[in-house]
């Protein structure tokens, strides 16, 4: 392990990540008026992003092989039902995760 090179890698990842996250603020974060389109995106984009993140989390599920994505499907449906019913994020996330862990560790082994 080359310590200097490792530190350089960490620095590069850190700076690049910060720059990516800072782009909207560098573009529109000054004292200038935020353009209407950007304001509009700020309001409507989160729903598109959250839907995309769900797909992103499940991107490696193989429907045609192995467990056919059944543990994921069952757990996602459970989370959705729990959240519609109880509207408590801790219950939805907690029970959904336990369900998934039980399914992949004990049932779909």
């Amino acid at each position: 392990m080359n310590i200097m090179h490792s530190i350089a890698i960490i620095a590069v990842v850190s700076v690049c990540t910060i720059l990516i996250r800072a782009v909207p603020f560098l573009m529109f974060g000054g004292s200038r008026q935020v353009p209407g389109t950007i304001h509009y995106l700020g309001k409507f984009l989160p729903e598109a992003i959250m839907a995309t993140l769900v797909v992103y989390c499940l991107r490696n599920v193989r429907i045609m092989e192995g467990t056919h994505g059944l543990p994921e499907l069952i757990s996602v449906v459970l989370v959705a039902i729990l959240h519609l019913w109880k509207k408590n994020i801790l219950i939805s996330v907690g029970l959904g995760t336990i369900c998934y862990m039980v399914l992949i560790q004990m049932i779909f082994t």
Partner: protein, 245 residues
Amino acid sequence: MEKDKGTSCIQYAFKQSIPVMLGYIFLGIAFGLMLQDAGYHFLWAFAISTVVYAGSMQFVMVTLLSGGASLFYTAIMTLFINGRHIFYGFSFIEKYRNMGKVYPYMVFSLTDETYSVLCRTKIPPEMDEKKVMFGISFFNQCYWITGSVIGGLAGQLITFDSTGIDFSMTALFVAIVVEQWQESKSHVPAIIGFLMSLLFLLAFGADRFILPSLLTSVIILIAARKNLDGKEAKIQDESGISAEE
């Protein structure tokens, strides 16, 4: 809880951050352990989780570090893997720039999970919005750092089978989608995001779909502005994201 003003903001922020806690601690442990296996002890894990703070990228970094990747390749990989974060700031431009000293930290700490929790949190008007938002961001990073250090120090001692615990992040996002679906009058943005991600996942594969998918969603949303923004007047502030108090 709302009565004691001094600590109530911190308590409220903590409560909002709990859904992220379990996932971040266990993913952090997995990262610390992986880094330890690659020959980097817990102080490296601490440093990386402090200055980089990017979930999936940190796992890729272990490979980059142990393989001694070139800095150019490292930069390209980072832009590729973390590129999606470019879209997160748009919802917080006006809020963050009024946050004074912590403004840079708020921008720095905008991960998938922090973004999601901040989007869904409807801060009660009697609370200091800045304190709550900073609290959520800060608590989340604390979980991540704590997990990383535990993983680097004692990851091997954990015998509990945590396989599948990363599903808590998926569950968090699913619950938020359900929540937003119920609260918003227009489901168009969620449907666009969902369809575009599936389309590009099928077309480009698991490792390459997210950037084109988000970019296309943005373009479609901008094109559909007249339709959506018209409805928006009636449902103003319902999303809670850009709601101005």
